[in-house]
Symmetry: C2
Subunit: 243 residues, 2 copies
Amino acid sequence: MGKLYVVGIGPGDYDDMTIRAGKILSRSDLIIGYHVYVELVKQWYPDKTFLTTPMTREAQRCRMALEAAEQGKTVSLVCSGDSGIYGMAALVLELRGEKRTPEVEIVPGLTAACSGGALLGAPLTHDFAVISLSDRLTPWETIEKRLTAAAEADLSIVLYNPASHGRPDHLRRACVILRRVLPGERLCAVVRNIGREGQDRRLCTLAQMQDLDVDMFCTVFIGNAAAKEIAGNLVTPRGYRDV
Amino acid sequence: MGKLYVVGIGPGDYDDMTIRAGKILSRSDLIIGYHVYVELVKQWYPDKTFLTTPMTREAQRCRMALEAAEQGKTVSLVCSGDSGIYGMAALVLELRGEKRTPEVEIVPGLTAACSGGALLGAPLTHDFAVISLSDRLTPWETIEKRLTAAAEADLSIVLYNPASHGRPDHLRRACVILRRVLPGERLCAVVRNIGREGQDRRLCTLAQMQDLDVDMFCTVFIGNAAAKEIAGNLVTPRGYRDV
């Protein structure tokens, strides 16, 4: 019997993958994914068989993976970060529907909230929201509403997909919305290429962030009211009474 | 020179740890943590030296770890899930302050939003909020405000620390608040002991969840408006136009 694993490979460094993900990839007959992530995995498992599809052909990619598993293969569909959070897991389960074959296992991975947070220090010690600025699947009005709600409730905020070629100004627009609620001095940070070549991090204020150049490889953190800089790191204090 | 690693070990199964976390633990001179998690790690690295402190002595634990690193040891302070999200990373950085010694590295791990989400299917395909129901460090009024804001903005919600001995009814109180905004039929789920003995998952409605018995080993998921059950899994559909 074939089986399809939907595998979150984490930010992009082999060591940031889970031990489980590594074991599954190493025993897969076929590894499928968006070409950028397949190129990463190829460096780690050069002898495997790989299949790629362009970014916008997610459903085609999932169908190929389901069909190969149905035909008896052990298949890994790889996603960057986590396989569920803005990942392919839902689409695979939707396309399989109520059939229950082939067997599907969702294998979690480090999402950018975790890996980017660690790179910055400890920005997510308390409650937070994860919001994507891509309006490809969500109307911009909904994104705007969520940003406002999260800021008003003093949640730390992690912004995924802060920009792309088609929408270079989404972060600036988000900052304008956030500044209706939050002060311009609010501490923020941007991480880029977590765990990959060119890894970079930058702390700044919300006012400064409005003018930063970001791309699809960036993840943005907005501190909550307690966020502060300690020795160059972005930290939301834990606030234990016995400190 | 010693170094302190603050290591997220994930939900509790060796395979759910990252490869990096495994390498760091295996070369540590000393592993420190809350006794429940130290017991897990002891099974994987029985020959290491371990130190534990009770749950409420977090600051003491962090100070012990910093001191041992200052004395030249390679030290791992272990946290369940991620080391940042409700973890010890912030407290370590606060206690070290502006000194910049000993060297500290935050090593991320799978948080329950990722590992529990994977166990349930794909509940976090779109934007979501992570909220702890523990009022040990956050006033209950703030928690209440965040629950309402997240529900009104149609965020999927992950509830950490839904109960403990001292506050057995927090999940019920949270459900009452959520039902002011959300319908009783809203799809929800509870996972327990992710990756450990007795692992369990259960899908239910928000109305049903109000009466469930939960404990500190549970993580609760509240679906957004699009959440549905597919072949027994909780799925927030991805909604690609090319499906």
